[in-house]
């Protein structure tokens, strides 16, 4: 069963053509990364998928229903953790549910525990480190009722070591929940390590120039980074990205 379908999305801001016929599908339980240079309109694409911006042309489909321009149907984790400073961790985590009109505190507590944040339920966001805050934001998405999660460069603000920890953590917790994930990043290694499939975006006007199926079995370990196969695919993707950059400049 196909979950999220993005069909022929076009968008321009005035004379600037931002999205040029983007089409792809995220299947049930699949982890798909959108890889592209900064400023390639990835975040704009997210706001279209999230329904807060309408495309000039094209449509978004979820489980066979047209959801173009409808909000609240995907779960979203922004670039910065975006936690509310006046809410405790548990209340922040429950925000996504609250917006949909219910609160499942038991599930939230279990998830906080699972994320290694036990004891922080009643703390405020400023008491947590950057990585911890990002984990809270991700739990908030997981607990939200929507079955597809969109992550917008969630680890870009973290240092390298924390980033690796977070990637491992994300994979382990994702494998338990099997929600579909659409992950935006500009980091090739991150995309390779996490995804089932990688879609490479071009610079503006953005379109999908290549698609890579990531062959590595799960569960994946950090050692994967050092294997020849990993480096081989990384080089291939690098050339695709690089090639399109050279073409444009």
């Amino acid at each position: 069963m196909s979950k999220l379908e993005v069909r022929q999305i076009h968008l321009s801001f005035g004379n600037i053509h931002v999205l040029n016929g983007i089409s792809f599908t995220v299947h049930d339980g699949e982890f798909v990364s959108l890889l592209g240079p900064s400023g390639s309109g990835k975040s704009t694409l997210f706001s279209i998928i999230g329904g807060i911006r309408r495309p000039d042309r094209g449509s978004i489909w979820l489980n066979g229903k047209n959801i173009t321009g409808k909000t609240g149907l995907i779960s979203y984790t922004p670039q910065t953790p975006s936690l509310m400073p006046w809410r405790t961790i548990i209340d922040n985590v429950l925000l996504g549910q609250e917006i949909q009109g219910y609160r499942d505190e038991k599930a939230a507590l279990a998830m906080i525990d699972r994320a290694g944040l036990k004891g922080y339920e009643n703390s405020y966001p400023h008491e947590l480190s950057g990585g911890m805050k990002q984990r809270v934001a991700f739990i908030r998405s997981l607990l939200s009722p929507q079955s597809i999660i969109c992550l917008d460069e969630p680890f870009s603000a973290l240092d390298e070591l924390t980033r690796m920890d977070m990637q491992n953590w994300l994979l382990s917790i994702w494998s338990e929940h099997q929600k579909s994930v659409l992950f935006v990043t500009h980091n090739i290694e991150e995309a390779l390590f996490l995804s089932d499939r990688i879609l490479v975006l071009s610079e503006k006007p953005a379109r999908i120039t290549a698609e890579f199926h990531v062959p590595f079995p799960r569960p994946r370990k950090e050692m994967l980074y050092l294997t020849d196969e990993f480096i081989h695919i990384k080089r291939e993707i690098y050339h695709v990205l690089r090639g399109q950059l050279v073409k444009h400049s």
Binding site: I52, T71, L73, Y76, S82, M84, I99, Q100
Partner: protein, 257 residues
């Protein structure tokens, strides 16, 4: 904490020195009492005439508090309405700014003509001077809402009511409190000035009576009471702010535990 104590002590010391210079000058230059009484004389009078002015304090405090409460309510309501209806804000906001360049206090004599010498004209004056700083600071507070959070709320399918109560209102609370602090001082000022125009009791009345009888020490007493009441109100609001916005002062790097 230690630093705060040192700061307070420095201020107290400055005041003590000023009072000392004042007292010495009054004695050395033999300044007549009706012109400028010394601090010692004022203090003595404050103790002796306490039964005279004690009755005047409570009405002013009550007047200020009621006026502040009404002004705050109207100020908050105005801000919410203008924020929720942007078209209305476009029209009303400039008028609001212009209206505040008129010192509202000058309306007081007019209000006395229309509404007599009772509570009503006084409360109207205080409300008028109080609501403006509250409306403006709350509106600015709404504008300072974190855009990333708003983006998140929209994506998550939040209604505009949910965005308002879960996001914009808490975001604006710190601004509301800065407005409240200004309004509190204004409310005491408004109360005293409206009492000058006509009242049976109140610090304003005690002040005009003393001034027309050249009891300058009592005028000073009134001033000190007004200052004291204003400061007290200010600190009460600051305390409330501390309790309500418990997340912020910790964020500033001053843990309160």
């Amino acid at each position: 904490m230690r630093e705060n104590i040192i700061k307070v002590w420095k201020s107290v010391l400055v005041f003590l020195i000023i009072f000392l210079i004042w007292e010495v000058s009054v004695r050395v230059f033999e300044i007549p009492e009706w012109f400028l009484p010394g601090p010692v004389q004022i203090f003595r009078e404050a103790v002796l005439s306490f039964p005279v002015y004690a009755d005047h304090i409570v009405p002013t405090v009550i007047l200020s508090l009621i006026g502040l409460a009404i002004g705050t309510f109207i100020g908050v309501m105005t801000a919410i309405f203008l924020h929720r209806i942007p078209k209305l804000k476009e029209i009303v906001y400039p008028l609001l700014i212009v209206s505040q360049n008129i010192p509202t206090i000058v309306l007081a004599p007019l209000l006395v003509i229309w509404f007599g010498f009772g509570m009503l004209p006084k409360l109207i004056v205080i409300t008028l001077v109080c609501f403006f700083p509250i409306t403006i600071s709350l509106l600015n507070g709404f504008l300072q809402t974190d855009q990333e959070l708003k983006h998140y709320m929209l994506m998550a399918g939040a209604s505009s009511r949910q965005i308002f109560w879960k996001l914009e209102w808490p975001s604006a609370l710190p601004s509301l409190f800065s407005g409240l602090k200004i309004a509190a001082t204004y409310s005491v000022l408004g109360a005293v000035i409206s009492e000058w125009l006509g009242a049976k009791r109140g610090i304003g009345v005690f002040m005009t009576l003393s001034s027309s009888a050249f009891q300058t020490d009592r005028v000073f007493i009134s001033i000190f009471i007004i200052v004291f009441v204003s400061l007290l109100l200010f600190f009460v609001i600051q305390l409330l702010e501390h309790l309500v916005i418990h997340w912020q002062h910790i964020e500033d790097g001053k843990p309160n535990e």
